[in-house]
């Protein structure tokens, strides 16, 4: 197994920590993992992204030209990364604020209205765990227990009480995601 995922969105959307949770979950599966952020001068509201790789083997480069799965959470991210998904790969997006929807025909495309779901769950902070749920549905590479373990590892002790809420968000994301194009 070798899954290369890019997650891209606004800084405030929890992109980096989502990547970290995925990576930790990968570790729980006994896999090799890497997590590589885009980094640059501070720019609030600017787009940021993280590449996570989960693999059976040692990972050579934590940055890749093309990914298996792209998770894009705003228009800029969609514009930039739709192209970078490998043929046959997966694109997951949040339609909120999207004016130009994905157009590729050679990849599987999923949509999750995570912003709305977060509002429904009454907590905008679990936005990224809803996305997590969507990813797990679209690309079932991690099992739920390991995700819970990964979450535990990546959260500071004092936030462990929030794990049930987070797992609920995962479920909601898995349920709420819908495939809009399949190859």
């Amino acid at each position: 197994m070798n899954e290369e995922i890019i997650i891209a969105g606004f800084g405030g959307q929890g992109v980096l920590s989502l990547g970290k949770i995925i990576a930790y979950s990968g570790i729980m599966e006994g896999k090799e993992v890497s997590w590589m952020p885009s980094y640059g001068p501070e720019m609030r509201g600017g787009t940021c992204n993280v590449t996570v790789i989960i693999s059976d083997n040692k990972i050579s480069s934590p940055v890749v030209q093309r990914v298996d799965t792209a998770v894009v959470l705003n228009q800029q991210a969609l514009d930039k990364f739709e192209e970078e998904v490998k043929e046959g790969g997966t694109l997951i997006y949040d339609p909120n604020g999207i004016t130009r929807h994905p157009e590729r025909k050679d990849i599987n495309i999923y949509k999750v209205d995570a912003a709305r779901l977060a509002v429904e769950l009454g907590n905008p902070k679990i936005y990224n765990m809803i996305i997590m749920g969507a990813i797990l549905k679209a690309r079932p590479i991690l099992n739920d227990e390991n995700v819970e373990l990964g979450l535990k590892k990546s959260l500071p002790e004092r936030h462990h009480k929030l794990i049930p809420l987070n797992m609920e968000a995962v479920k909601s994301g898995s349920k709420g995601v819908e495939q809009v194009h399949s190859i």
Binding site: K20, A23, V33, W35, M36, Y39, S61, P62
Partner: protein
């Protein structure tokens, strides 16, 4: 498994420093390594181990704080990235001239000038040949994983104290920014003054007690003869280091017909190229210098008998390739492939370069 953590290379430098009993860190923010100091400030080791952490007013001040701390026999360190390391060159030369142990971390970014904050390996010359003035060398460790970011902190201090030569971890923005699994080192306490004296001798400026002469740390010698004596002593040490401390790693090199030579980040990419080439039946291998000084000259020379040719892959315009050529000394072709300014080469383009520059030549 329980000890495995997922951390950034930069964070790991900080964790490893605290764990190995580092006495002091002095730094100045610069991307892509600011997390080193940030993590230290977060951990607040002054409350636990008593380690001093100070944000200096500049890189120049930071390296000179390191100089002061090193004079006291303490395990002290700094970290920075390329432009900041350039500012430290006078201080580094002083540290070498005064034969002080310390650890310097360079998380390289693209240059010259303000350049870019993306990863680069363009400070090889500065680090290995001598960015400061005078004849000196640093012990240079080039990690290619987050795990090695952990391991080389302790190792760097150990070697540095053993020879009283500053050690440098030459990393880059990729290793510094990425997270990987890492097993942190076990915790060691900071050394007491007595332990320092016992382990390293009584040369540090800890106060001239009645039972010894004054200790003076200086790099000055007005007379040329004295200075030459210092230089000869240094050169003898460097020779000893060259003989005893070479560290390198090979990958599928035993039967290789062609050898990639790469350090740090690039070596990871190259290992992928090796794998795919092997799949195609090409006998490609790799040698990765872990210590850049001392350089595995002898080992590469040895391989020159076995292989048809070498190619170094670097994120610069061709720097380490000179040391490989000096080692091979014309016996076999030594090619170079590089990307610049923050671009990380892909395994595929390295393969293409190999075909063009080595296999089909």
């Amino acid at each position: 498994m329980s000890d495995v953590k997922l951390l950034k290379g930069n964070e790991v430098i900080a964790e490893a420093a605290i764990r190995c009993g580092c006495d002091g860190y002095f730094g100045y923010p610069i991307t892509p390594q600011s997390e080193v100091m940030e993590t230290l400030m977060e951990r607040a080791p002054w409350n636990t181990t008593g380690m001093v952490v100070l944000q200096a007013e500049s890189e120049v001040a930071a390296i000179n704080m390191v100089y002061g701390g090193a004079c006291c026999g303490k395990k002290v360190m700094t970290s920075s990235s390329s432009p900041g390391v350039s500012l430290k060159q006078e201080g580094i030369s002083y540290l070498c001239g005064a034969e002080l142990p310390c650890l310097i971390v360079n998380v390289q970014r693209g240059g010259p000038g303000l350049g870019t904050i993306q990863p680069s390996q363009a400070d090889y010359f500065q680090t290995v040949k001598g960015g400061g003035h005078g004849d000196y060398k640093l012990i240079v460790l080039a990690p290619n994983s987050v795990q090695e970011m952990n391991d080389f902190v302790d190792l760097g201090f150990e070697l540095s104290f053993k020879y009283r030569v500053p050690a440098m971890i030459l990393s880059d923005g990729m290793i510094g920014q990425m997270m990987e699994k890492v097993t942190l080192s076990p915790k060691k306490p900071r050394r007491t003054e007595e332990e320092i004296i016992k382990e390293d001798g009584d040369w540090a400026t800890t106060g001239k007690t009645a039972d010894r002469e004054q200790n003076v740390i200086t790099s000055l010698a007005l007379k040329a003869e004295e200075q030459e004596a210092t230089n000869l002593r240094l050169q003898a040490k460097y020779k000893e280091i060259q003989e005893n401390e070479v560290r390198y790693e090979t990958y599928k090199a035993d039967d290789a017909e062609y050898l990639l030579v790469a350090f740090g980040s690039c070596s990871r990419i190259c290992s992928k190229t090796v794998d795919t080439a092997r799949e195609d039946g090409i006998k490609l291998g790799m040698i990765r210098p872990i210590t850049l000084f001392p350089f595995p000259t002898k080992q590469i020379k040895e391989f020159a008998k076995q292989v048809k040719g070498f190619m170094t892959v670097e994120m610069n315009a061709g720097q380490m390739v000179e040391d490989v050529r000096l080692a091979v000394n014309g016996e076999k072709p030594v090619e170079f492939y590089g990307r610049f300014g923050g671009i990380i080469p892909s395994p595929e383009e390295i393969r293409v370069a190999l075909e063009k520059q080595l296999f089909n030549k």
